[in-house]
Amino acid sequence: MLELDHVVRRFGDRCAVDHVSFRVDDGRMTGFVGGNGAGKTTTMRMIMGVLALTDGEIRWNGAPATSQARRGFGYMPEERGLYPKQPVLNQLVYLGRLRGLSAQAAHRSATDLIERLALADKRDERLEALSLGNQQRVQIAAALIGEPQLLVLDEPFSGLDPHAVDSMAQLLREHTARGIPVLFSSHQLELVERLCDDLVIQAAGRVLATGTAESLRRRGRVRHRLVGHGDMTWLHGVDGVRVISAAPGTALLELATDDVADRLLTQALSRGPVREFAEIVPSVADVFREMTAA
């Protein structure tokens, strides 16, 4: 389990990350969302030890994260890059060895990954000779080499086609299934909503919300749609109900409390047939927009 405890990072006078705290639990896929300049990349760099913390603490399994522990973290940086002039297999073995694997173990791990990622026929080619899609796969392999204990991926889905997104998602699922915590950042909110167990929403260096996708959606304004018959203006007179929009036969409402719903439904039924009375839960994207609009 990875924990960030009031992590602060300043660049001169600018505070890029301002007392950020959240957790990435074992076996959970945690999505890290926020606009440009939210401080996601800076936060991830601090997790990986690439940038120093101005204040706060990062803990790995309850103890402050050491450089030794970080050797076991798989990382895909925002700025992609490997050795363009070196063959695929060679550089994966090298990176594996820097992560502490023996020469044999690194070779084994690299060969496995190359096969998994359908790069077997490219293993001796220089990276720069590969298509962009294949280069991206090698980059993924660089993050996954040496059976990482934690994955920190900065925008892993950017630039991938839909098939590649699916196989990437599948690959990450395999890791969480083994109990490995995965933290990834993304701008693609629908994707995050679909894939993630947990979410961290960050804006301007601060965490706005954390929790499961479901709990975050519930944080947004849950609305109700009532589809009935005829004139709906009577709804304006019901206690605890705010009418967002109303047209003959249909209305969009915001309820003050949950028990207003029962009262409202009884009243509606007494006035005529009710075709639909349903909760409209906002998407994560809606919640995100609402939160970051302020």
């Binding site: 522990a69 940086p77 490997l82």
Partner: protein, 416 residues
């Protein structure tokens, strides 16, 4: 009710982290810098540019030495045209005199029938010189150039023959005439290395040092900027200490540069022996021990400085401007090292980089007390360590700066 409680020692807290992670892996224990060094060397050895430039330099050295051998084989070899037995005797005598003086001179005699034929042979360029008898004695004929070898040794032979003839005419002998005319040359410290040898060695190692700076400098700085340029640096920085990355690269590049120097020096040495200049070689190698020690230490310090120059660059395009000051310093060290003397030399022999040439010069010349070399080496090693630490800081701080090269001052101002 009485209860007897025995206090058990609290169980030792389990220090092993629990959870699905961190399996104790005995394999995870290899010095990171060695992995970096190994990659550095293998990548370089497969690099066509490196191989080609090394081979071209080797070819140039071998070519230069070959030219030397050719020139040496023609130097001191002359043919002289002459008439009669007397001149034949003189020419043989000239060769003997040259040999006694330690000079490698071969004079080939071309016997002609008349003085006119001798003139023709000289004019046609078939022989370097011609020897003819005149009323006043002997005349050495040349076509367009005076031949120094012929003039010196045939001249000496003519002089000796004339002296001998004149002595006999005066009723005495040559030995009697030349008695007391010999000059003995006695060295007071024959065991010490001659100053001329010290000078040769100083120049030789000074030049080698400068050559190494050119070979090593740009290649090391480029190798250090490589990860920053292709942005693999974030992955590396999250796996190993940056110090290990820098040390690995310094060791790798330095090893290769020293191997190159060794190959070049070996080629030159073989050439010197082949050219019959083994005497020059033995003069240079006389003080080799100390020069080698300082050379290796000096190269390491130099490599650290170049590493710092690489650390402040963001792209290989910046390398040229960040390494220029370092190359300039090396040139100054080279010139100051071979020209300094007296107090300046003593001071320079304690300054890192400058000591590379000045201290061994002083040691070989016998000017130092025992502690001076030790102190000077310690200063150099300490400087190397400090520069590596400073380079690591600069490198770490400039890591995320991709906007262009920094100044040393800017780099040190940045935070980690």
């Amino acid at each position: 009710m009485s209860t007897v409680t025995t206090t058990k020692p609290a169980p030792t807290p389990d220090l092993e982290p629990t959870g699905p992670e961190t399996p104790p892996a005995p394999e995870r224990r290899e010095a990171a810098w060695r992995i970096v060094t190994a990659r550095e060397i293998t990548v370089k050895l497969r690099d066509r540019g490196f191989i080609v430039s090394t081979l071209v330099t080797l070819a140039l050295i071998i070519g230069a030495v070959g030219l030397q051998v050719y020139l040496a084989s023609t130097m001191g070899k002359i043919s002289v045209a002459a008439v009669g037995t007397e001149s034949t005797q003189l020419i043989k005598q000239a060769e003997i005199l040259a040999d006694q003086a330690g000079q490698d001179v071969t004079i080939t005699l071309r016997a002609e029938d008349s003085a006119a034929q001798v003139r023709d042979a000289v004019r046609s360029g078939d022989v370097e010189a011609g020897l003819v008898r005149t009323d006043q004695g002997w005349t050495l004929l040349g076509n367009t150039d005076r031949d120094d070898t012929a003039a010196t040794w045939i001249g000496a032979a003519v002089q000796a023959a004339a002296l001998e003839a004149n002595a006999t005419a005066q009723g005495t002998s040559l030995d009697a005439l030349t008695q007391g005319a010999t000059l003995q040359h006695t060295l007071l410290s024959p065991g010490d290395t001659p100053r001329s040898v010290v000078r040769t060695a100083t120049f030789f190692f000074g030049f080698l040092f400068y050559l190494a700076a050119i070979l090593l400098g740009t290649s090391l700085a480029t190798s250090i900027v490589e990860e920053k340029q292709n942005r693999v640096v974030e992955i590396i920085a999250s796996s190993v200490r940056l110090r290990d990355l820098l040390i690995g690269k310094i060791v790798g590049s330095t090893t290769l540069a020293l191997a190159q120097m060794l190959a070049f020096t070996a080629a030159a040495a073989i050439g010197l022996v082949a050219a019959g200049e083994s005497k020059t070689l033995s003069q240079v190698t006389a003080g080799l021990g100390w020069f080698l020690v300082y050379y290796v230490v000096g190269i390491v310090v130099l490599a650290c400085v170049f590493a710092a120059a690489g650390a402040i660059a963001s792209r290989s395009e910046d390398i040229q401007s960040t390494t220029t000051p370092v190359t300039a310093i090396t040139a100054i060290v080279f010139i100051a090292g071979i020209s300094a003397s007296g107090a300046a030399q003593t001071i320079l022999s304690f300054v890192p980089l400058a000591s590379t040439i000045t201290m061994p010069t002083r040691i070989v010349a016998g000017d130092t007390t025992w502690w001076e070399p030790a102190a000077s080496l310690a200063v150099s090693v300490a400087a190397a360590a400090l520069i590596i630490l400073a380079s690591e800081r600069i490198y770490r701080r400039a890591l995320m700066q991709t906007g262009g090269k920094l100044s040393f001052r800017q780099a040190l101002k940045l935070t980690d």
